[in-house]
Amino acid sequence: MNLLKYLLYLGCMAKNEQMEYEISTMALLKHFNIDVEYLGDEACCGVPAKNFDKSAWLISSARLLALASQKNGAILSLCTGCDLSFEETSHILRENDVLRENIQEALDIIGLEYDKNIKRVHIFDLIYDDIGIKRLSQAVERDISHLKTACYYGCHAIRTPDLHRLDDSEAPTKMEEVIEAIGGQTEDYPERLMCCMGPNLSFDPKPVLNNVGSIIDAIKNRGFNLLSVICPYCFKTFSLKPFPVLYLTSLIGYAVGLDPNSLGMRLNRSPIEKIIPELAELLIEEF
C-alpha cells in the first residue's frame, strides 16, 4: 500500500501557459481514483538561478521538498525539468552533509526542515507504476489504432543515468509500453532522444526552430501522425510547428473515453482536430 499522499506541483510553464497539462492530469487521476492535492506553493524550482548561483538553486528546490515533507506527502511534478531539479537536489544533499547543513541553515530562517528521505514523483511514474499497464489496457474505451504515435521523452525525463530517472537514458521503452497498452501504434525512431532546445527559445530562437522543424520532418517521413510528450518545454517548442502534439495524459484520457473538452484539448493549438474527430465535431458545433 502506498501511504504517501501526492502533492501536485505545477511549475512555471504548466501553471502559467500550458493549462492543458494540468486539466488533463486532474481528469485522468480522477478517472483512476487517485487522490491528489495541490502543494500550496507554486514558487519556481530554482533552475533559472542555477546559471548564477548554485546554492540559490539548491535552496529553492530544497524549500519545496521540505514543504512537501512537512505536509507528509510526495511532491508530484508535471514538468520533467522541475522533477530533475528535485531529484538532483535530493541526490546532492543526500551525499554531501556539509552542503545539507548549509542549506538547512537557510531553511531554518523560514522554519522548514529538510528531510533527506523525501520522495519525488513525476506524473509519468504515477501512470506507469501506480496505474500500471494492466489497468490502463483494461480501461480503454475508444479505439485509437489509427494513431501512429511518436514517443518523445525529453532530455530531463531520462538523463542522467546515475540519478533515479523515469526510464533508461539510452534505450527508454516505458512510454511505448503505455501507448501499446491503450491500443495505439508506435515504433522506435532515431530522433526520439533528441533535445527540443526549448530553453533557448527566449534567447536565440532561430536554431531552435530549425531543430524542431527537422525533427518533425523526420517524424512525418516515418509515417507518424501524432507526437506524444511529457514535458511542457517539449510541448511548447513542438507546437510551434503545424503537427499534432498531445500530452501523454491527454492521449490516455482520450483513449479511456474522457470528453476532449474535459481534457483541455481546446487549449492545444497544434492541429489535433485532424486526428481527434470528437474535437472537430465540437468545434464545428460551436461555430
Partner: protein, 188 residues
C-alpha cells in the same frame, strides 16, 4: 632547440589565467576539467553542436584548461547549452562539459556578463517567485481564457519566504550587479 609549435604553446600558456581551473573547481566540486582527454564524445552527441557551428563543448573544456577566461565569459557560446545532459551521461572521464559550462556561467555573471533574456528570467524569478507570470491563452476556437475562467485555482506563491531563504546566498548581490549588465558578444 625548441621547435616552432612548442614555442607558440609556451607563449599561449604564459598569457593564460592560471587561476581559472581553480575557480571552476571551486564551483564544480567533483568534476575536474584537467581530466578531459578531448575524446569528442560530448560534441559528437550534442544537439546544439548539430545546429550551431560555433558551439563545441569539448573546446570549451579545453579553453578552460588553458585558462582563457576572458574569451569564455565575454562570448555568447557558454549560454547556448540547453542542459540536455547528454555530455554528462556520455563523458568517460566524468568531466561533464555541462557542469564546466555552468561553472563558467556563474563566473561570467560574477563578472557582470549575462545575456539580456536570461537575466530577465532571473529578475522575474526574484520579483515574482516564478519565471513567467499567468498568461491569457487563446484557444482553438479563438476564446481568450485564463486560469480563473477555466476554473483552475489561482497559484499561491510565497515570494517572501523564498526571498528570505535566498538572502543567505550571493544571489541578491548578483541581481544588483546585473542591473549594470555588460553585453555578451557574438562569436565570430
Amino acid at each position: 632547440m625548441k621547435c616552432k609549435g612548442e614555442f607558440l604553446m609556451v607563449l599561449v600558456l604564459e598569457q593564460r589565467d592560471k587561476v581559472l581551473v581553480e575557480e571552476t573547481l571551486r564551483i564544480l566540486g567533483e568534476q575536474d576539467p584537467l581530466a578531459c582527454y578531448q575524446c569528442n564524445k560530448c560534441t559528437s552527441g550534442c544537439p546544439i553542436a548539430l545546429v550551431r557551428q560555433d558551439f563545441r563543448p569539448h573546446l570549451i573544456v579545453q579553453q578552460t584548461r588553458m585558462g582563457l577566461k576572458d574569451v569564455l565569459i565575454k562570448e555568447e557560446a557558454i549560454w547556448y547549452c540547453c542542459q540536455c545532459l547528454k555530455c554528462v551521461a556520455r563523458c568517460p572521464q566524468k568531466v561533464a562539459p555541462y557542469e564546466v559550462i555552468f561553472a563558467l556561467r556563474i563566473l561570467a555573471a560574477e563578472a557582470g556578463y549575462s545575456p539580456k533574456n536570461i537575466t530577465k528570467l532571473l529578475q522575474s524569478f526574484w520579483n515574482n517567485g516564478m519565471v513567467t507570470t499567468p498568461m491569457i491563452i487563446v484557444t482553438k476556437d479563438f476564446a481568450e481564457v485564463t486560469r480563473q475562467t477555466l476554473g483552475l485555482p489561482a497559484p499561491v506563491v510565497d515570494t517572501e519566504g523564498l526571498r528570505k531563504a535566498l538572502k543567505t546566498t550571493k544571489l541578491p548581490t548578483i541581481i544588483e550587479n546585473l542591473k549594470k549588465r555588460k553585453k555578451v558578444s557574438k562569436k565570430d
